[in-house]
Subunit: 334 residues, 2 copies
Amino acid sequence: MSRTRLSLDDVHALSMAALTACGADKENAEAVTHFMWAAERDSCHSHGLFRLPGYAASLKSGKVNGKSRPTVEDLAPAAIRCNGDNGFAPMALKVGRDPLAERARETGIAALAITNTYHFSALWVEAAELAEMGLVAIAMTSAKPMVAPAGGTKALFGTNPLSFAWPRVNKPPMVFDMATAAMARGEIMVAAREGHTVHDGAGVDKDGNPTNDPDAILEGAQLAFGGTKGALLALMVELIAGPLIGQPFSVEQKAIDNNDGGPSTGGEFILAIDPARLSGNTGVLDHAEKLFSEVLAQEGTRLPAERRYQVRAGNEANGIDIPTTLYETIKALT
Amino acid sequence: MSRTRLSLDDVHALSMAALTACGADKENAEAVTHFMWAAERDSCHSHGLFRLPGYAASLKSGKVNGKSRPTVEDLAPAAIRCNGDNGFAPMALKVGRDPLAERARETGIAALAITNTYHFSALWVEAAELAEMGLVAIAMTSAKPMVAPAGGTKALFGTNPLSFAWPRVNKPPMVFDMATAAMARGEIMVAAREGHTVHDGAGVDKDGNPTNDPDAILEGAQLAFGGTKGALLALMVELIAGPLIGQPFSVEQKAIDNNDGGPSTGGEFILAIDPARLSGNTGVLDHAEKLFSEVLAQEGTRLPAERRYQVRAGNEANGIDIPTTLYETIKALT
């Protein structure tokens, strides 16, 4: 497949040009671009420019407000809400992040409910940024139904990711971002397009039978990772990123979506914790480094995000490649 | 195997007699007994009287303070700490629970750090009790090293359970309590004793090779459920229930334990959330019931804890069975 090389500045400029041409104002385009740019910087292509056509579709259909002005309000002393004004989630995250961090430092632990947004971006970006500010962060979001509940065979939950970030001493944060689905939706779509099978446990067909055929899974349902336990975590994410913050759960998101190819409406829950406060100032980050050393002393281990950090410098110096077909699609939007 | 039938009142009386005979005062014995009694009531035998000999051993060795007087202090406006005074965790949980609930109602979301305790009980008991008070609860704890990290083959994490509870309308809470290990330690020990194999993915031998032999796993390491994702969750629990609250992580717990057969010292982290506050009073519990209805509309599904609730009434009416050998062991302590 032909590929086109772009510097990270090119990535930024291309995204800005496409989003503003589709109706986003500069501030909203900057917020959304930042998330795709950060993903490309770390070779996380599934959440990079690959997402741009979806963002563009939802701007063009009029579903998403490309000129959103999110507002922050108090829910409780340790909980705030950032109403996304029907824009994309990155804009609400940009507006809500500093108030969340400030609140967590005041109260020790604080929650941010992101509401009335359209979520299409990687969770690790915002979790890592909170950790860079010295906070422990947990983020969760849901999406349209794709994953069966424990014991069931019909799509009900989103791929419902959970991201966790921990600040490190003189190092970028330890951060992971995992779908509670066994496979990313994008991986199954790629397998279907390229005609290869997927691993056991990835999903079931429309009759509920286990299958390795990605097309059959797309007509049926994905499964959660790790069997019943993963499906229970998916349920937890569905409750926390939905009803708990007054936002629609996956089935409800689907019912009101216009199927323009972009994200559906929904919320995100972010928890921020000040580790100095929670630990009673016991040298918490140095203590955690001892645990990380124990992990890394074992052959074959690495900390989550290490691979991303390893490729980052190279991508910053040399740029990244995207499929030329994707490049042409995005150029045509500008 | 010969079994002995006990009413739930018998369970309570037997536990009280044994714990007080081993040096616990009435208040500490009541707290610990409550957790074993609740487990037996719901046929959760792995955390019922099966644990009593371990509790007794740690009282008799002098490791655990059977006359503990836990104290609650502020860490931050939304975070409190209950110092367990080197007693068993249930005593600190009893003392810390109401202050946590009160704080969560004040601040919307609040954390309880349980410190300087010895944890040997099921997490779902306290998570469910917070949900019965109308709060969403998440609890995590760690223990001595038994589980390998992602990519590794040596025991490093505890079985590191995570429990989540959600309040329901006119029903007992939705609650789950899952080890992040693929199998409970007790199940592997039972398999070793009874001479049968365990499922793929349960663990590795001392050379790091995958095995279905429970004895080899006990010499080697257990694995997390669901591969890398489960191992990352185990790391998250290890950080949150350890360094974050100023408590030892698993390797450190092992280094200071006296190996008396009871639990090692450590902490527990509990998060309580007021769903009315977080949702902005949007009928959050009714909304969640709609999600539960969607789950239950699929054939083959049930909500977590439903099986326990189904057996509860029968156990309350008819009592429960425990192995006669266990009964004799406990009687001998009294």
